[in-house]
Subunit: 658 residues, 2 copies
């Protein structure tokens, strides 16, 4: 039964994107278990993720019939399939999240999670057909309908998540129990799908993810058919095989596409898979398409939170500059997909420019994190930037894509802190030079095994993102030799300063938006200090973002802020006018919302109907400006909204009265 | 077969809302054929409606299988039902439009339209079941499913449109051929639907319209069961009989509702039916609910065009102040429903306040009229206030509610020009005093038969809405005696002036937002002159309408303006900054778009990326303002957009550069 090549435990590392052997890559990952975070934001969330979220979600899989759908197929098809046709994918995403979580689990946690994983794998295995096919919706009474509606029915989407889960499980446990299931299904998919000239089905799935999954399965197994089939799925897209519409990412061949359109999650998953392909094969047309699409996303179709997806209808991107706040869709899953895509793009080249890591960090704090409650057991599907308090996090959803997606992203996150690159052109021709890149600034310990052998361990000590002082100390060195550390100075950190062992860095070396390049023959005890200015920044939006005209958003460091009714009892937060208030100041509030820095100041309250008497439109100059009143205002980090009593919230604040 | 009371031709008048015998009404209608318009806007549209639109739509009914669905039922159920399950309603709406059109048709037109009507009635009749039931979707293979899904399947919606068509046909032809069909079906509905305590089905339809229809059938026939059943359908709503959701107007009992929610067309159709009920029965709770809902609509949930429905998802109202421009849904049918509702509300009392007629006129010009092309054969379903030029009028739709709805509204429109009220408290106790109200200001002839006997004919001479000079001359008088003319001075017309037979009216008499009250013993040849100031008005939106912050819209008289790429070749119209430009001036352009007044002036062009370098967000003060350039700008009446080459259009213009 075991058709999978034996896994060599020596080659396995716990990382979702293992590009160590990919020919066209610069950044190589370090494994999740090489990073131990101890920061104020991620560390508690990741612990809660292992201890509460993952066991809690398993119970939902059980209680909502998602596991029963597998048991039903195994047990002779009694009763009815329950829930949505793609519910299998929730089981797989949970399996992936749980598998990555193992990489950082304590013994006790590992035992609990392993038991749940093994039980789930047993249940999943029991529903696999003899030919490898596995989809509980298209089993039993719908068995003859297999592959009959690829556009709508998510068969390859579910398969993709199964494969991703299997890769995670293999990499963190060395076991092939889930991988066997996934490769058997993947083999069937490779047999069925491909060019019609090869006698295959020349068609793809309405919801991408199979692309990323197959490339990673290729990386794990070395079996080239998976890469070939991934490329096929990218090539066939945009050629009308599933109806040709933008929603399903089928309107334009990817290499010709320049704008982000249609269903946001589908779009970024597809692009992440395409970026995976670029690590394996030269494809300039694909590269320029992805570059153009990224530019379009960040300069025309992203929220100030980093969230994407402007439209409820179709969970979709809107037109350029179409960014409504209260009706923002900004699905948590879309933020996750955007991070996956950016990570893969960043890995392709050793750019001394922090744009990718800035986007990743910004999206993590301001678009992914809002999706999760402080207790780790409630989720947002949509993440609006303005709301009247009705929108609240839920423990689960009928369409439950987001909860396990957030769980897997948190479990993967330590693996995004640092990477390593090797440059063979530096120094003597045949001596490689290693560079360790610190992308995410967070307190913890990072261990990097260097490609050339040797290793370095450093400790990061900081209260970032609440404060800008960061100390990095080298604590262990083994055969590290000459080594470059590249430490990210975020694009917003103009005026950053730093020193190494007491010696100041030049302002060029700590320029914002670049990595501080520190090449030394390092010694244990060496200390790097960085100081990032954490002043409050007032952002305005491009004039074509009509919804934000005359409004400003507050940021401090990487954190976007919002104001909600809870801390602003006077009036409605939408009526606060910030004017040119210069008294905004940050303050650490250890007791509030798990501990955070709030921004306080004075605003003018412009009563909503002052001068308007219930009119909706009036002639300019017709009404008198109402008299305003100075009130204290308090802004909190946006990701913490809706953790207190319900009420109006808004990210964008009025700048002036008119 | 003929179960309908014989129609007394002497009592029939061609009006959609015949409240002459309604006990709780002030305004009584004058028939469509009593008004002969000769104005620059409606007159040509109404003529084209008779000559091209109505015959053209009949061909669509035929070509798209809508008539074949009836033939199929009659012919033994061969083949398949084609199209949407409520396609019968398009046939009925067309029959209604064609019937009202007869009221103003020339002999030749009447012959053509009558032939089409009679053919259609024959086809419809052939599909009626023996028990009176008539719905081609729920016939043949779906016969056993009758009334099985009232929430979604529009059976009573189709019935309502059948009844409305039958009333129109009876009132304009005196024939009972369609009325017989409708009353047989209505009788069945009255038998089936009602309180469960009467052994009936206590449920309503997902899409209102049956309420208006049954009240009007009661008015035509005098059969009280139709009124009782209409009241039942209003009472049962909001009690969960069809799922309890706002989309289907079932979340709240109508008398408790205060806000406009859910599907916009459903909402205003229901409220129009409820207002019909108020003309027949005292119901203070219903009246306050409708008043509150109207206030909510006009002061929180209407576009500056008068359009309603902010959301594409659910074709629905949004939250207060949620009024996106490019993504406005503003369905043409919703504007029509809003006019129907306002007309009925206006009729209830003799208010010396033009708010209802202002709303009707404003919605006609700026929310209904944009739905129709100049050629009268292309329609908008949605009417956005900003667009990139992709949104274009179509000759027909799969869901074709709007085209025949626009056709019936145009055919009805002359009947909305004037009304008559009778006040028994003026003068001697038992001598009534008649007042003729002129609501819509448009060139033409109006003949009013007075309730007390006698009649008056007056001619309106004006180039309104392009110019503000209006002359009204009494041209015939029969036993008119002492009579009041109330002539509407629109709310925007501050500074209006007037005279009667050369004698000036006081400024109180011509105050804006009231009717000029002119009581005289009139003589043939008497002349009223009014002068409404037509200055260009710059409107701003309530600060909570975030999408319009810092923007202004231009109006002149009743006309909303927009700018489109066609007349503004330099730059993108969204980048034009109007500033405090004082050189805006109107100009008559006979050759343009059928003849219209354009507004010209100078704006500053602020290039879209000036100071932004492809950024979407930046720190306030970070970028330099780009240098602007003065360019000529030209605004056209909003209803005329998309009649030239495609391009960007916008109603709201930037007020300043920042």
């Amino acid at each position: 039964m075991n058709q999978t090549p034996n896994l060599d435990p020596g080659t396995l590392i716990a990382t979702p994107v293992d590009v160590r052997s990919s020919p066209l890559i610069a950044h190589r990952p370090i494994p999740i278990d090489a990073v131990s975070l101890n920061d104020p934001i991620w560390s508690p969330r990741i612990r809660i993720n292992r201890q509460r979220t993952i066991p809690g979600q398993y119970r939902f899989l059980e209680d909502t019939g998602r596991l029963d759908n597998f048991r039903r197929v195994a047990g002779g098809c009694d009763g009815e399939f329950s829930g949505l046709y793609f519910n299998d994918s929730d089981v797989y995403k949970w399996l992936e999240a749980a598998s990555w979580a193992l990489a950082q689990a304590s013994d006790e946690e590992r035992e609990e999670i392993t038991q749940l994983i093994d039980t789930a794998i047993g249940i999943v295995a029991s529903a696999q057909h003899d030919d490898g096919y596995l989809d509980t919706y298209f089993s039993c009474e719908r068995e003859s309908l297999r592959w009959s509606n690829l556009k709508d029915c998510h068969e390859l989407y579910c398969a993709g998540h199964l494969i991703q889960a299997a890769v995670a499980h293999a990499r963190t446990t060395g076991k092939a129990s889930l991988l066997d299931i996934a490769t058997r299904f993947a083999d069937l998919i490779c047999e069925v799908f491909g060019p019609v000239s090869d006698g295959k089905r020349e068609q793809t799935d309405g919801h991408p993810v199979i692309e990323m999954a197959l490339v990673e399965l290729y990386r794990l197994t070395g079996n080239r058919q998976y890469l070939d089939t991934a490329r096929f799925f990218i090539d066939v897209r945009g050629r009308g095989s599933i109806g040709g519409d933008p929603y399903h990412q089928d309107a334009t061949p990817l290499r010709e596409q320049r704008e982000m359109v249609g269903h946001a999650v589908r779009a970024v998953y597809l692009n992440a898979g395409a970026a995976d392909l670029l690590a394996e094969e030269r494809d300039p047309a694909l590269r320029s398409a992805l570059d153009a699409m990224w530019r379009n996303q960040v300069s025309r179709r992203s929220y100030v939170s980093g969230g994407i997806g402007s439209r409820w209808e179709g969970e979709a991107f809107g037109a350029d500059y179409e960014l409504p706040n209260a009706r923002a869709y900004t699905e948590s899953c879309a933020a996750i997909g955007s991070i996956m895509w950016a990570w893969r793009m960043m890995s392709l080249a050793a750019e001394d420019n922090t744009r990718w890591a800035d986007a990743i960090e910004h999206t993590l704090y301001n678009a992914l994190l809002p999706g999760l409650s402080l207790d780790g057991e409630h989720y947002f599907y949509q993440n609006p930037l303005e709301d009247d308090g009705h929108h609240q996090r839920q423990p689960w959803f009928g369409c439950a894509c987001c909860p396990p997606n957030i769980a897997r992203m948190l479990a993967m996150l330590p693996g995004m802190v640092a990477t390593v690159t090797t440059d063979r052109s530096v120094g003597e021709a045949d001596v490689s030079h290693d560079t360790v890149w610190l992308h995410l600034l967070a307190q913890g310990e990072v261990r990097v095994d260097l490609p050339a052998g040797g290793s370095i361990v450093f400790e990061v000590r900081t209260r970032y993102p609440w404060y800008g002082e960061i100390e990095i100390e080298v604590t262990e060195l083994v055969d590290a030799g000459n080594l470059t550390l590249q430490v990210r100075i975020p694009g917003w950190a103009e005026g950053a300063s730093g020193e190494v062992n007491g010696e100041s860095l030049s302002s060029n070396e700590t320029a914002a938006g670049q990595y501080a390049t520190l090449t030394r023959s390092w010694s244990v005890g060496d200390r790097i200090k960085l100081s990032l200015p954490m002043r409050i920044r007032r952002l305005e939006a491009h004039p074509r973002v009509t919804e934000n005209a005359g409004r400003i958003a507050l940021m401090r460091g990487p954190m976007l802020y919002c104001i909600e009714a809870a801390g602003n009892p006077r009036g409605d937060v939408r009526d606060l006018v910030l004017g040119n208030a210069r008294d905004l100041h940050p303050g650490w509030r250890p007791e509030m919302l798990g501990g955070c820095v709030v921004i306080s100041g004075t605003a003018e309250l412009d009563p909503p109907d002052a001068g308007w008497s219930n009119m909706l439109y009036r002639e300019v100059g017709e009404g008198r400006a109402g008299s305003t009143e100075s009130v204290a205002m308090q802004a909190i980090p946006y990701h913490l909204w809706a953790n207190r009593e319900r009420g109006q919230i808004t990210v964008w604040l009025r700048r002036s009265q008119s």
